[in-house]
Amino acid sequence: MKLKGLFFVGILLICSIFAASTIELTVWTHEDPNRTLLEDRYIEEFQKLHPEVSIKRVTYPSAKIRETVLTAFSAGKGPDIFNMEVQDEYPYIVNQRVAPVNPIAMGYKNVEEIYDAYLEGTLNPVSYQGKLYGVPLEITNWCIFVNKRYTNALGMDFDNNYPKTWEALMEIADQLTVRNGEIITRRGFDFRYPYYLTFFIPMVEQLGGYLLNEDGTEAIINEKAWIDVLTFMKEWGPSGRNLGSPTYTAARKNWNKDDGSIVMCESGLYQILRLKSENPDLFHSDDWMIIPWPTFENAVNPVKGNYYGHYYMVNAQSSSEKQEWAWKLIAYMLQHTNEYFEQVGLIQPTYELMDSAVFKEFPFANVFMNDMSQAGCVLLHQAGPRLEELIREAVESVMLSGVSPENAVKTLKSKATEVLEDY
């Protein structure tokens, strides 16, 4: 009996030694069937090249990954590698839960080389106090998608003359809108509620307003700009010219279907690939186009809609060995920027991709890149989500509840200041 026991223990010990010598990495990311196919392949290749590493890739619904990562990290069981929208990732940087990039492991000589490989400014969102904390999986900015079938029907010629200002867009949207009483059956254009940090703030900035002051102590700078934009939104909504509202189905969801419910929407380059697979008929026709993001007529600061993105990051609590392998894996996967673009529709802002033929020949890619060069990153602040909520309340109260823009701005300012006090 004792001999058997010893034998078992011996086997267990040997097994555990072997097990310990395999590095196990976990990667948590959001669901995306095409990217999963791609990355599963890369992971398989990587494991063949490095048999001492075993990788587990886990996917979560994009609406829910915020919770799962948060819960795991607060229990001290966070994954080794993960990505989320950068606004959600920011608190992890500030709280030092993610590790700075390891350029050697990634195959670069130093950190500067990494900065050089990527488009100017696109690594700013993950740079903090002089260190770099992530590399981009995708960056997105929005331009306006136009379904020309409906504009042509009304005699408009977008190819030669498209709206460049918000005021012009409003007029054209009004002509395109079809209603049944109060109910809108076709919208000319509608905004991408509720991503106010991405589309609303730049509109305010165009008129010279800001969300926060230089040192982040004060909120809602230049109230007149805010009031002006809110007045514009009020006129857009049900109590104004009734051109759209947050309560309708999101514009981008219906645009691909070409079903007459929406003519123009705000969306990113990734939507073009979806259009190709969902509605090849429209995609291959000449009946659609992308136009740049509008500015106000009296804009003092012609910024474009903010960009946002996903960055791959590494858990600071993982062992240094695991961290090194994690960066190696990330570098291995991300070197395939062209495939990410072609097969998944994700833009990684590397010069390599921008210069490649496949990118240059992609329809309307230049419109997006042009706008991106004039765009800033979406707000990164620990109070970001709360501030977005307050802006949402302000816009909705003006559009849906009949509050005056002046009052809405007053409320917004006092509530935002209260929020800032917590930080």
Partner: protein, 288 residues
């Protein structure tokens, strides 16, 4: 002939019966609309699903929605495994819940012991914390046991449920004492009484509890979301949510997946329903 049989009373009663039936029918129509929507949408192309005004009968029967639902967007056929997971977890939890609920409810209803009221309050207290608050400590606990991404992790936190206990206690309060006393006189000990007398006579209540528990487990999403990681261990609601991701929505296939997911619930309901819509009560055996 008793007073109740005058002819005009009879017509009044049948008229009243018809009115009630009509009201019931109206309520039912409203209640059934989303269900009908789901079934008809499952055959439509996604373009058609979102079209207003809504067509109740699909223009063509797109069976490929069902194929896509089973295949998954990644063509990996995880759905079958997910259904199995949901079944395993739901059935286990239901059986365990019914057993423990009946046992504990019985103890609380029919026995006087010191601290009875406190125990009842404690049990009820566990019902009152919203899951979102305890999810992090619970997650840490389950992780410490090593049960993440496993059946144990999915089942253990739900093995015993306070709602069930409370429910069984209420039903067992009116359980006839004389049945119990008769069994005691026959020399059975309490445990035997529980198994041989109480359980068989509480089938309506236990069936109701079983159905409610099964459904609640079937639909449970937040906990499986946190505790499962590999595709093989996920449950049905997570699979359905996968179909609603930002980039690849096919509403028709989503509805098809949902229809498939509802079939087990329908089966459970149909087969168990007769156990508690009995017209003759089992208690009548205690008379005479």
């Amino acid at each position: 002939m008793s007073r109740t049989d005058y002819p005009w009373k009879r017509t009044a009663r049948s008229l009243r019966g018809i009115i009630f039936d009509v009201i019931l029918l109206m309520i039912l129509i409203v209640v059934l609309v989303p269900l009908v929507f789901m079934i008809s949408a499952s055959f439509m192309e996604s373009k058609e699903v979102l079209t207003m005004p809504y067509r109740w009968i699909p223009s063509a029967f797109h069976w490929e929605n069902y194929a896509q639902a089973i295949q998954g967007n990644d063509q990996k056929y995880y759905y079958a495994r997910n259904i199995f997971n949901s079944l395993l977890v739901a059935i286990t939890v239901t059986l365990s819940n019914c057993l423990f609920a009946a046992m504990t409810g019985f103890g609380l209803a029919k026995y006087r012991f010191f601290g009875r009221k406190i125990v009842l309050l404690l049990v009820m207290a566990t019902m009152m914390i919203p899951f979102e608050t305890i999810m992090i400590p619970l997650y840490m606990l389950v992780n410490n046991f090593g049960w993440q991404d496993s059946y144990m992790g999915l089942i253990m936190p739900f093995l015993v449920n306070a709602f069930g206990i409370f429910m069984m206690r209420q039903y067992l309060l009116t359980f006839p004492e004389d049945l119990l006393d008769a069994a005691r006189i026959d020399g059975l000990n309490e445990l035997a009484i529980f198994i041989r007398v109480v359980i068989p006579n509480s089938i309506p209540a236990m069936t109701a509890l079983g159905i409610l528990t099964f459904r609640s487990q079937w639909d449970s999403m937040l906990w499986p979301l946190l505790i499962t990681q590999s595709e093989e261990m996920k449950t049905i609601p997570l699979y359905i949510v996968k179909f609603t991701t930002e980039k690849y929505t096919n509403e028709g296939a989503l509805m098809a997946a949902a229809v498939i997911a509802s079939i087990p619930l329908f089966i459970v309901f149909f087969s168990l329903a007769k156990y508690f819509i009995q017209s003759s009560s089992v208690f009548s055996g205690s008379k005479g």
